[in-house]
């Protein structure tokens, strides 16, 4: 891989850190460079510490690493928080005239670039642009053409008028010139540009875009970190495609509204995170037993309870698999990359409607708030297919009537899939209920019908196992003795870790699993491997437990639950350490 460059801006919440970082990421993307961003943030509106980090290269980047080359520090704490990632020669840009930064100490082995950010911003038209001055300074340090920053500033401030755009451009140039004139230090960086076109988006946005592409028309949700971006993305956009977003009074209401819309025949969805999933579980069994197609997006964060709301974890797997009283058929999909968030969302809608059941679509914080560059072709809308399953209209409905003339939405069939009639379909009127029911949806406690309906619902899962492709994604060395297995968002870090291990002469095969239930049968892959390591962001090893259960063999585990996602270099070391332990034992 070509050399990567790691940059960050940090300060207090309320310092405009997010938008500053986003502008720089956008500038790099528009310059034809790949970008992978990450955020350190806390659950507060002002104060504390927050940072926006950007990793960039002309080659694809899909993970964060433990290294920081250039840091814009608006507070002393920003430097303290990043000491471990800063290295010899790292550049720290700061405003020595800021009261809190006057006594700041820049470690000897690093390069401090003291720029009067606020003063230069005021000269350019307003103190509020001090972060843009810092971006200009960063362009000079990184030898990054400032015209690319102009383009990002235009996008960011276009709706605020040309004057503001021009002021910001001037502010950026003031920062660049100041560094050029005041410092004769030779920086090692050279951020070359390419002619490639990239789009830059995060996981929540990819899910939202996937929903619209799949024909989702109705979304109900309740704000919760880190799923809120799905709702804010859809708001104002889904309307252009005939849809609507409702902010419900709570998650109980959100999922019931989504259920109502689905019964009305709309492709419908809600998104939430752990605490919301707990509430929605009340209605989960009803969705499954009434055979209603619904996509429930769970953007996981650290739990239990309120846990660490702005931190990463993959701790909800067991809840999604087993949550709810009684035995409830469901699917659980876990896209492994940001672009797959788009495609798996489309797939989730098709699976929900084909098999008439709830589908959990799960992402996590690290994917939700991370932006990554992709070629626009990655999201080729012509490739989107919509399969609504067994929907019957006025003419076909006659084939699905009971002897007494009632429509049978829970008809017992060989594949378990029954016909579905939307309201308004003549002769299709029927009851849907959380009670056990007969083929017409009428309450029953008849022992034979009870068994027939339970079996029918489970048969849908077996049918799906046979008809659909549940394969894992595979990379690395197919013949390697070491097999690394992961689910969900760890794929990027693992992919880069494998490159690091490969450079050290260690071959690894990777299976990245986007389907938790139904899931691929990995028994042959596991039998063929000497060492098996399951990597996941939780303490218990919930997916590792499933793998052991499936193949009746112990596996090694790499678990992380400190609230921070896996980093490529750290993960490579972890995998090596785990294999070494195994060898000693």
């Amino acid at each position: 891989m070509a050399a990567d460059f790691n940059w960050a801006v940090g300060g207090e919440a309320g310092d405009g850190i997010d938008s500053t970082g986003k502008i720089f990421a956008q500038a790099l993307s528009r310059a034809g460079r790949h970008v992978f961003t990450s955020k350190d943030f806390a659950s507060r509106i002002r104060g504390g510490y927050t940072a926006y980090k950007v990793r960039t290269s002309v080659d694809k980047v899909q993970s964060v690493v433990d290294r920081l080359d250039v840091l814009i520090a608006l507070t002393p704490r920003t430097i303290e928080e990043n000491l471990e990632e800063l290295h010899e020669g790292s550049v720290i840009i700061y405003d020595g005239e800021r009261t809190t930064m006057q006594d700041v100490e820049i470690p000897d082995e690093m390069v401090g670039i003291d720029v009067p950010l606020k003063r230069l911003a005021e000269e350019a038209g307003g103190a509020i642009m001090r972060n843009v001055v810092a971006l200009g300074a960063a362009c000079e340090v990184a030898e990054f053409p400032i015209e690319n920053l102009d383009s990002a500033l235009e996008k960011r401030f276009a709706d605020k008028g040309q004057k503001l755009v021009d002021n910001n451009k001037e502010a950026a140039r003031a920062g660049r010139s100041y560094v050029g004139e005041e410092f004769d230090h030779e920086f090692d960086y050279d951020l070359e540009t390419t002619d490639e076109d990239y789009v830059l988006l995060n996981g929540d946005e990819a899910i939202g875009m996937g929903a619209i592409a799949a024909g989702c028309r109705f979304y109900a949700g309740y704000p919760i970190t880190p799923a809120t971006d799905v709702m804010t993305y859809l708001t104002g956009r889904i309307e252009r495609y005939g849809g609507h977003v409702v902010q419900a009074e709570d998650e109980l209401s959100a999922i019931n509204m989504a259920l109502g819309a689905a019964r009305g025949g709309a492709r419908s969805m809600t998104a939430t995170s752990g605490p919301g999933i707990d509430l929605m579980t009340e209605t989960f069994g009803l969705i499954a037993t009434s055979e209603t197609p619904l996509v429930i997006c769970n953007v996981m964060r650290s739990g239990p309870s309120t846990g660490m709301p702005t931190k990463q974890e993959q701790g909800d797997l067991n809840h999604m698999l087993y949550g709810g009283h009684g035995e409830v058929p469901r699917f659980v999909l876990a896209p492994t990359t940001i672009d797959e968030c788009f495609w798996k969302t489309v797939e989730a809608f098709n699976l929900a409607e084909k098999y008439q059941l709830p589908v959990y679509l799960t992402a996590d914080l690290s994917m939700a708030v991370t932006e990554q560059t992709f070629s626009p072709d990655t999201f080729d809308m012509d490739e989107v297919e919509v399969d609504r399953g067994n929907v019957v209209d006025e003419t076909a409905i006659d084939d699905h009537m009971s002897e007494s003339g009632g429509f049978q939405p829970h008809e017992i069939t060989d594949d378990g899939i029954s016909p579905r009639a939307f309201p308004g379909t003549a002769d299709g009127a029927h009851m849907s209920t959380g009670l056990e029911h007969d083929e017409q949806g009428r309450r029953t406690e008849d022992t034979e019908m009870r068994v027939a309906q339970v079996d029918k619902r489970n048969r849908k899962v077996e049918t799906a196992r046979e008809r659909e492709d549940w394969s894992p994604r595979e990379f690395g060395d197919a013949g390697a003795d070491t097999l690394v297995i992961s689910w969900g968002s760890n794929e990027g870090a693992i992919a880069e870790a494998v490159e690091i291990l490969d450079d050290e002469g260690r071959d690894v095969r990777v299976l990245s699993v986007p389907y938790v239930f139904p899931r691929p049968d990995l028994s042959e892959d596991i039998e063929a491997a000497e060492n098996v390591v399951v990597v996941e962001c939780n303490e218990r090893g919930q997916f590792a437990d499933l793998v052991e259960h499936d193949v009746l063999r112990r596996v090694d585990r790499v678990n992380k639950y400190n609230g921070v996602r896996f980093k490529a270099d750290e993960l490579a070391a972890e995998i090596k350490a785990t294999l070494a332990e195994g060898a000693e034992a």
Binding site: I212, A261, M431, S432, G434
Partner: protein, 287 residues
Amino acid sequence: MSSDIRFTDFKSDKQPTWCPGCGDFGTMNGMMKALAETGNDPDNTFVVAGIGCSGKIGTYMHSYALHGVHGRALPVGTGVKMARPDIEVMVAGGDGDGYSIGAGHFVHAVRRNVDMTYVVMDNRIYGLTKGQASPTSREDFETSTTPDGPKQPPVNPHALALASGATFIAQSFSSDALRHQEIIQKAVEHDGFGFVNVYSPCVTFNDVDTYDYFRDSLVDLKEEDHDPTDKEAAKDVILNSEQEYQGVIYQDEESMPYHEQHGVDEDMSVIPDGAPESATDLVREFY
């Protein structure tokens, strides 16, 4: 929709298991007649029911229907109506469903003013669980869980609705069949959230709020020269009346239902076979 729809078309082939004499029989009959009178048929009607004796109503009526979880009937109805503005939506539940476990949803459904009808079958008792206090039980009403009475004031659902910005508030009595049907019909015809609290006596567990009690005490607002478009007069009835009453208490003639307010008027069940036209614009936004 055919013009020869009779209210019996809204009856399912399931015989109600309500106790003989239960107020819910009359409540349901009025609902079915109001639906038929307003030109609806079972195939364009969606009934949402909650949990409890009242929740069984979806089983005894014939229409598209969902019998949901306890207390969440209003959000379901909201979702159905937003996805299908062409469908008549009627939500029914009990006083426990609507004013206890579902009270939060009640307030917000009122605020949203979605064009649907909400019928609360209020018997001031938990019947299906065999006689515990409900949110509308009297302060001194003795039950198995409140041997000395709840010692809390009952919820005033009309006041709650008024305070939440309701555009239609009414009260009826299941036994006064014609008036009950007439009031439900006005709620169905209302442009917005038509809320009707129905006194629907429980003959098994409530020996206080009986048919006789309501017959003797009920005042009809129609005969009292009450002007339902006068909000102050409505407030006076709701907060100060010392008698039970029936009739349309308040109706905002300027009511703008949710779908007009938000421009939600499409049948969302119809979608293309692939991504919608111009979906590629969404990708371009990320440049």
